[in-house]
């Protein structure tokens, strides 16, 4: 029996953009202000889980054909990869660097390698959380 969830579906269509934007915002504000890969990842993952709850697993899997176990693995790979990069450049393990760059149209931007590390953390969190929820939901 399908429950009548038209309100949920309608609300989610709008709210999901707010949640995902907040997740991305938290992720980018991370290394200097409250936020970061972990929290950004949590918010993004909760957005994705909300989609799974609202629509069914099959629909979402058709639109987002990722194996979330591999997403988590990719995240760890990126995060540890930044550490290995530091070893390759012969500075202490996990050293990070940053710099200001001039771009056409958008002007001065502060770019950091820690964002890459945080991206790895975010992907790991998303992958792990979604995998957990999906494994629980598969239980009969």
């Amino acid at each position: 029996m399908r429950i009548n969830d038209v309100i949920l579906r309608t609300v989610v269509k709008v709210v999901i953009f707010i949640i995902l934007t907040l997740g991305v915002y938290l992720f980018f504000s991370g290394h200097n202000a409250p936020g970061g890969g972990f929290i950004g990842g949590l918010v993004l993952a909760s957005g994705i889980i909300l989609l799974y709850v609202t629509y069914d697993i099959d629909t979402i899997q058709k639109k987002m054909p990722f194996d979330f176990k591999k997403v988590a693995a990719l995240g760890v790979l990126i995060a540890t990869g930044t550490g290995l990069g530091a070893i390759y450049l012969d500075v202490p393990f996990l050293s990070q660097t940053d710099g200001h760059f001039q771009f056409p149209f958008i002007g001065d931007k502060h770019l950091t390698t820690v964002t890459l590390f945080e991206a790895g953390v975010a992907l790991t969190v998303i992958g792990t959380l979604v995998t957990m929820i999906l494994s629980i939901s598969e239980d009969e």
Binding site: T80, G81, I87, D90, V91, P92
Partner: protein, 493 residues
């Protein structure tokens, strides 16, 4: 730059993640795994030589100076442990390839073995006690999966217990760390040691030390080993051997590190309790080993006895006793891995676990039988095999300190070890053979190779005692003089 120190941690973890993407290519997985572990072994060997040349070396992550940042420290003791654990892992993997079966290999088992090794190496190398907690967790997470993987009913039961006990242990660890941080305001091990020495080890700090002691005892199987015989016998043999060789030893390492570096100032409280626990562990472990007729359980109780024996050295605390502990720790990692692989192979060959149902194995597999005999001699401590020097040194230290009770218990336990292992040998290897030539299973060549290699390691540790003792003595020197360690970490270079 000392980035080499972090390689034994990061290489296994990085490779473990890469293996996730190669799930269906089992042969590639095997090749990558074994190459990685051989590489880690070689790197650890270079690291050992480097530490010999340059003394204690450290790596400040991201360049944050101690005591503010996290750091990895390589001294002779930790690098010896890393080297031994990496070599043992290579041979356990060799055994796993021929026996573990495709079902496990498909389920990321090599990834988890590598994560386990990464956690173990990290625990040995870290110089920050919170980081020690993190590395413990990495190791434990991997071990939870390895215990449960396979999905048999008994595995589910034992893994539930195992996870529960370790989660409780970890939360107590965290509480102890909170207490420690609130009293000494630092988590860097060298800095803690310095502050505890300056302020004097008051009752509050001794209490914190004892809480840490309980946590590490739980992980090492010191008195609190009730979970160990159950959960160590359910996973596949190669995983059992890895657990036997590595997991409890990390707990023992943490105990030795904590009570030689950070809290050595109240030996009449802490070291007395360690001594009582070590004695009790030996007695209880011996009772378990004598009572059991299941080969796997007998082997598991032998781990417990060895843990008690190693900690006699710490409890006594003289220089030769601690040297004996370090030496015996190295020996025990190799010998216990081999013992578990051998009894696992017995179960694989006969399909039985009780010694009464096996007989005459030595007629079917003579070399296998004699390697078991050799392992037994090494564990008992017959010269010139690997157990001898460690036992002599611990015995010498106990006599120097006048701890005759511990001395007696330690050496009486050797007899019990001999008896329990001889029980297996007499009833399962000797006697009328029960396996006819038609149903004789061939012994996988790769397994035989790993037995021979580990047996050779044991003989080498025994015969090469003189070369190895140079390293062991250096490790001991740092353990009994914590100021060397503290100066190396905290002095500005």
């Amino acid at each position: 730059m000392n980035n080499i120190i972090v390689l034994p941690l990061i290489i296994p973890i990085f490779t473990a993640v890469i293996l996730v993407f190669l799930r269906n290519y089992i042969v590639v997985q095997r090749m990558i795994t074994i190459t990685t572990m051989i590489a880690v072994s070689i790197i650890s060997f270079f690291l050992l030589e480097l530490v010999q040349r340059e003394g204690i070396i450290k790596l400040d992550f991201s360049g944050w100076k101690p005591p503010f940042g996290i750091l990895f420290v390589a001294d002779t003791f930790s690098v010896l442990m890393v080297l031994t654990s990496s070599i043992v892992t290579v041979f356990c993997l060799l055994y796993a390839f021929s026996t573990i079966g495709e079902r496990h290999e498909n389920m990321f088992i090599y990834s988890f073995v590598l994560l386990l090794v990464g956690g173990v190496n990290g625990s040995f190398l870290t110089g920050d006690i919170f980081n020690l907690f993190v590395c413990f967790e990495v190791m434990l997470m991997a071990s939870y999966v390895l215990v449960a993987l396979g999905g048999e009913k008994v595995q589910l039961r034992e893994s539930l217990k195992y996870v529960l006990i370790n989660v409780i242990g970890s939360s107590i660890f965290l509480i102890a760390l909170a207490y420690l941080y609130s009293t000494v305001k630092t988590l860097n091990m060298a800095h803690i040691a310095e502050r505890v020495a300056e302020a004097g080890q008051d009752p509050m700090l001794t209490t914190v030390a004892l809480v840490l002691f309980i946590v590490f005892s739980l992980k090492a199987g010191l008195v609190l080993f009730f979970w160990l015989p159950g959960s160590y016998v359910v996973p596949p043999t190669a995983v059992q051997a890895l657990f036997a060789a590595l997991l409890t030893k990390v707990g023992v390492y943490a105990l030795i590190r904590t009570f030689t570096l950070m809290f050595p100032h109240q030996p009449e409280v802490t070291h007395t309790i360690i001594g009582i626990f070590a004695g009790a562990t030996i007695i209880l472990g011996c009772m378990g080993a004598l009572a059991s007729r299941n080969v796997l359980t007998i082997a598991a109780y032998n781990i417990v006895i060895a843990v008690g024996f190693i900690l006699i050295g710490l409890a006594v605390g003289t220089e030769s006793a601690i040297a004996g502990s370090v030496y015996y720790l190295i020996h025990d990692m190799v010998a216990k891995a081999l013992l578990f692989l051998l009894v696992g192979m017995m179960v694989y060959l006969t399909g039985e676990k009780l010694i009464d149902h096996m007989s005459g194995l030595i007629r079917n597999y003579p070399l296998f039988g004699w390697i078991y005999f050799l392992t037994m001699l090494a564990l008992v401590g017959i010269p010139p095999l690997s157990g001898f020097v460690g036992k002599v040194l611990i015995g010498k230290g106990s006599i120097e300190a006048g701890s005759y009770v511990l001395l007696f218990l330690g050496f009486a336990s050797s007899l019990v070890v001999l008896f329990s292992l001889l029980k297996i040998f007499l009833s399962s290897f000797f006697g009328e053979t029960i396996i006819t030539n038609e149903d004789k299973k061939p012994l996988p060549i790769a397994s035989m190779a790993s037995f021979i290699a580990l047996a050779l390691c044991m003989i080498a540790i025994g015969l090469g005692a003189e070369q190895l003792l140079v390293y062991v003595q250096d490790a001991t020197n740092i353990l009994v003089n914590p100021s060397i360690y503290i100066d190396a970490i905290l002095s500005e270079s």
